[in-house]
Amino acid sequence: MSDIKLAPAPPGVEGSGFFATTLDKAIGLARANSLWPLPFATSCCGIEFMATMGANYDLARFGAERPSFSPRQADMLLVMGTIAKKMAPVLKQVYIQMAEPRWVIAVGACASSGGIFDTYSVLQGIDEVIPVDVYVPGCPPRPEAILDGVMRLQDIVKNESLNRRNSPEYKALLEKYGIQTYG
């Protein structure tokens, strides 16, 4: 008997020969277990993420088998490292190029708040330019912490309404960052 665990089924009505749940839950389950990561690494947190991707910590267990390196085919932007103000437009451009649905994890102190770089040339947290779903503390965080951040994001994705991306709140959030919305 294999010890591989399958993703647990969402709550629903089960009977002989059928299982009924909501579309939200089914889609959320699929999305949460195939989050394709886009690493945006500028410094030491990126090195920790490389360990996270590797065989020992094995990010692929969570359905993130394929680090994308192309924003078009990615769901989960992981920003790791100090983002200088000159880098901010590049990061924003990468975020805009990602297709919906898209989520962002700020990995480490620098991406979350500027970290030790309390200076005029460094962005004091990437949430000054793009919306962030999960913040991972640490300087740098260990791979376990990054994995925990990914699992917290899976919780968000599983419980997110399908319509959230069309909701006025979401559009208002993006417009607050000056990011164009469609539909």
Binding site: K85, K86, G114, D118, T119, Y120, Q124
Partner: protein
């Protein structure tokens, strides 16, 4: 070839330039250092570069220091290196008077181009005659010269050091 002695460099310079042009000659940590003014600067640099004996062919760095308490508040610092004679020299020029301006060294070294852009970027020093004097490291729309002492080092958007996060 043996290292050229600091005093030999100084004698060579003093043989060419008048006493008032080469001021405050010191040798901290064995590095020959002298002050001059904006009018004599390019002559001295050109002499150092082209003189057959000295051959200071390599411009190591151009930078600046801000001394807000001085009347001439900006020191522009030139480090020049003679690869042939294995000796370095440091030349300082103090300027101020509201509009800090100094002739460009790009006429002698092309490598001075980016060094002067950096010094302009951080201190707002105007290098007169520079072919393309604009910011090089900081964001283009920055409105201050951040290494001047009157501008704060810290970013005003920093919030995670606020007292209320620590119960103060």
């Amino acid at each position: 070839m043996a290292k050229l002695d600091n005093n030999a460099v100084l004698r060579r310079l003093q043989g060419r330039f008048a006493e008032g042009v080469l001021r405050n000659v010191t040798q901290p940590f064995g590095l020959l250092t002298l002050e001059t003014d904006t009018t004599a600067l390019l002559d001295i640099l050109e002499f150092l570069k082209t003189d057959d004996e000295l051959q200071f062919g390599y411009l190591t760095d151009i930078t600046a220091v801000h001394y807000p308490e001085l009347e001439k508040e900006f020191a522009i610092v030139y480090h020049v290196h003679s690869l042939v004679n294995n000796v370095r020299i440091r030349i300082k020029v103090f300027i101020g008077d509201g509009y800090p301006a100094i002739p460009t060294a790009t006429v002698l070294w092309d490598g001075a181009n980016w060094m002067e852009r950096e010094t302009y970027d951080f201190f707002g020093i105007q290098f007169v005659g520079h072919p393309d004097l604009r910011r090089i490291l900081n964001v283009d729309d920055m409105e201050v010269f951040p290494m001047r002492k009157e501008y704060p080092l810290e970013d005003p958007n920093k919030i995670d050091k606020k007292d209320y996060f620590f119960g103060r």
